[in-house]
């Protein structure tokens, strides 16, 4: 086992899957010769050649649309959107074709494709470089949406995404690409898509988060523990389809829930989770489920971003509020 960071885990999963299956092909803007602006695809072109890892013209709709055709003709494209904020030109291809080809053709044509994109804020970046668009993709039937939070999960989930026979949107928390290392098995392995993980057990309240917000949430849980509150923390890992069983089991136990996400509050996945909790665990609730999220604004430029991102302290305040509800 070597200790690697999340970015290296992406690279390792890509390499192992490309080795395992000659149908796997990687392309996107700058991913070939240079190995990606974040270096997620570094050395893949060297190792597998220009026909397995290549630079594309600067056109996201084409990257996805061409990928669809390649998938139909026997390949497994793993394409990169350079930043999730630049996936929008490909929105029509994603919603109208990636997500629907299997259903449209009643299973005759499928799109076993992975669309990777770094997402999220906190890296002091230019406009459009800090987006968290998971709610858009989760509202598109036919897609799976995965957001890992650790090197270990990243490697296993990306491998699973590549082997999945359905299209997967794979959102990588760029803020923590290099934030920490973790022991990760060198051999390949799979973490099943559609399964959340209880990463901290607790009794008083359920905190649900994913991706880069896991760190803030876990820190908040620690802060709460110092104050005698014991949160259970769930790493959702898959945003679509949501692992309702894990969420509901936890909320039934704790009676309380907070969802944490970076994306704007209105219409975010927080609302969907609150709805699920209502539909499945209402009688167990001791307080209304609620959320700590980005504001209903675009992500601010760097001199304002510290206000936007949910912080452990903001989460803690909400935890206290929910735990003290009506007492």
């Amino acid at each position: 086992m070597a200790a690697i960071n999340l970015l290296q885990a992406v690279n390792e999963a890509l390499r192992q899957e490309m080795k395992r299956d000659p149908r796997v092909i990687v392309f996107g803007e700058d991913v070939g010769y240079e190995g990606g602006v974040f270096r997620a695809t570094v050395d893949l072109q060297k190792e597998f050649g220009k026909d397995r890892c290549m630079d594309s013209p600067l056109a996201e709709s084409a990257i996805v649309g061409v990928g669809i055709g390649m998938a139909i003709n026997g390949m497994i494209p793993v394409v990169e959107m350079q930043f999730s904020g630049f996936s929008y030109p490909a929105f029509n291809q994603i919603i109208s074709h990636v997500a629907r080809m299997r259903n449209r053709s009643r299973g005759r044509y499928t799109v076993p494709m992975v669309i990777r994109m770094p997402y999220g804020g906190g890296i002091r970046a230019l406009e459009h470089h800090s987006e968290s668009p998971e709610a858009f993709f989760a509202h598109i039937p036919g897609l799976k949406v995965v957001m890992p939070s650790t090197p270990y999960d990243t490697k296993g989930l990306l491998a699973a995404a590549i082997r999945d026979e359905d299209p997967v949107i794979f959102l990588e928390p760029k803020r923590i690409y290099r934030a920490f290392k973790q022991e990760v098995p060198e051999e390949d392995y799979i973490i099943p898509i559609g399964k959340a993980k209880v990463v901290r057990e607790g009794t008083d309240i359920t905190l649900i988060a994913w991706g880069a917000m896991m760190r803030e949430t876990l820190k908040a849980a620690e802060l709460a523990a110092e104050k005698g509150i014991h949160p259970e923390v769930i790493d959702l890992r898959t945003i679509a389809p949501i692992d309702r069983d894990t969420v509901i089991a936890s909320v039934k136990k704790t009676g309380r829930a907070i969802i944490v996400h970076e994306a704007p509050k209105t219409g975010g996945i927080g609302g969907e989770l609150m709805a699920i909790i209502n539909e499945k665990a209402f009688l167990h609730l001791e307080a209304p489920p609620t959320r700590v999220t980005g504001f209903d604004t675009p992500f601010p430029l760097p001199r304002g971003e510290q206000h936007y991102l949910p912080s452990p302290e903001r989460i803690l305040v909400k935890i206290q509020e929910v735990v003290n509800y009506l007492t």
């Binding site: 084409a62 669809i68 026997g74 074709h97 080809m101 009643r106 005759r108 036919g142 389809p241």
Partner: protein, 362 residues
């Protein structure tokens, strides 16, 4: 060869057979046997007759929206005829003639327009993608299919069909551009039928021809008389051969006219004159080929009548089958989104079935 001699910037349009059915460029006559020409003729008549029936069923309220082919049979049939079985076709939504040429069953095609997804369940032995409605988006898929073939060393070419309107979409340019860069073996076949619903060709682009758009993407472009099967076939064949030889993509503009409505929801008299339509009716692609065949003694009026009748019958049978088998099965709404249904879908299906069960509806 032809591409070199027919530079769209010089306003040259390839025509081999004129409106009277006379071969005006014998030296460019493609290598088609009389039997093959006759086959093309039959497919064009098949297209026309089954198209007519679809319209009729639609008017009777038995078929849903339908996008007629009238006037575009030569463009579709002769181009699809230039492909090999192993090649791929990526259609828009007005390609009945091309589907039939590639061997698709009428039942499937009618089933689609009847409003059932199984009309897009293309049999394994046919390489045709389903109807694609979002204009120009499917061109990207054709490039991907072609490029994947090339990368995998498979000898396959992809042809994609689209209209004059589609050339205004970003996806048109992106896909052409990509195919140029990676020399994906793709044939971009534009049926310029002069209209995008009500919008005339002149509002789509200031370029004098659509063919010349190829220059932007570093590939050859050619304008052909879309109502002349020989011109269409010759250009498509050359484009397919080029692609197969690894020389990259081509843009073909088939200059033609939609004689019917855009779809059955459209009333074309609102936006164009009868005179124009009549003018173009005189250039009917089937009439033209018929004249050629008659003059060569390859067809008689009686034989034509028989062909027409036979295809009419075929259409009736096919539609009968569709009406008897065309209802969507409830579970099919849920079953095909993912390899395996998600728990959410299972729950939603079960809840709905329960609802129906309680009402005695299933």
């Amino acid at each position: 060869m032809i591409f070199k001699d027919y530079n769209p910037l010089e306003k040259k349009m390839l025509q081999i057979m004129d409106e009277t059915g006379t071969i005006v460029k014998p030296e460019l006559m493609p290598d088609l046997t009389d039997d093959e020409i006759k086959e093309i003729y039959r497919l064009m008549v098949k297209t026309r007759e089954t198209d007519k029936k679809a319209l009729m069923y639609q008017r009777q309220g038995r078929m849903l929206t339908y996008a007629p082919n009238l006037g575009q049979e030569a463009a579709q049939v002769a181009s699809a005829f230039a492909l090999e079985k192993r090649d791929w076709m990526v259609p828009a939504f007005r390609e009945l003639g091309a589907w039939l040429t590639r061997g698709a069953e009428l039942e499937m095609i009618y089933l689609y327009w009847y409003g059932n997804e199984f009309g897009s369940y293309v049999p394994e032995d046919l390489r045709i993608l389903p109807v694609s409605v979002p204009i120009a988006s499917h061109l990207q898929h054709a490039v991907g299919i072609a490029w994947a073939a090339k990368l995998q060393g498979k000898d396959e070419v992809a042809i994609t069909y689209f209209g004059d309107g589609a050339t205004s979409q970003g996806d048109f340019s992106e896909s052409m551009n990509w195919a140029g860069v990676y020399k994906a073996p793709t044939v971009f076949f534009c049926q310029n039928n002069q209209f995008a619903i009500s919008v005339p060709r002149g509002i789509q682009t200031a370029a004098e021809t659509i063919a010349q758009k190829a220059i932007a993407f570093g590939m050859p472009g050619i304008q052909v008389d879309g109502n002349d099967i020989f011109a269409v076939y010759a250009a498509t064949k050359e484009a397919v051969d080029r692609a197969r030889r690894g020389e990259g993509p081509t843009l073909i503009e088939a200059y033609t006219y939609r004689l019917g409505a855009h779809t059955t929801s459209d009333d074309p008299t609102r936006y164009r004159s009868n005179d124009e339509v009549e003018e173009w009716s005189k250039r009917d692609p089937i009439d033209r080929l018929k004249k050629y065949l008659l003059s060569k003694g390859l067809l008689t009026e009686e034989e034509e009548a028989q062909i027409v009748e036979a295809y009419g019958k075929l259409a009736e049978e096919a539609f009968k089958y569709v009406e008897a088998n065309g209802e969507t099965q409830l579970e099919d709404i849920f079953k095909y989104h993912y390899k395996e249904m998600t728990p959410q879908l299972v729950e939603q299906m079960e809840e709905y079935k329960q609802f129906l069960r309680e009402r005695g509806e299933i």
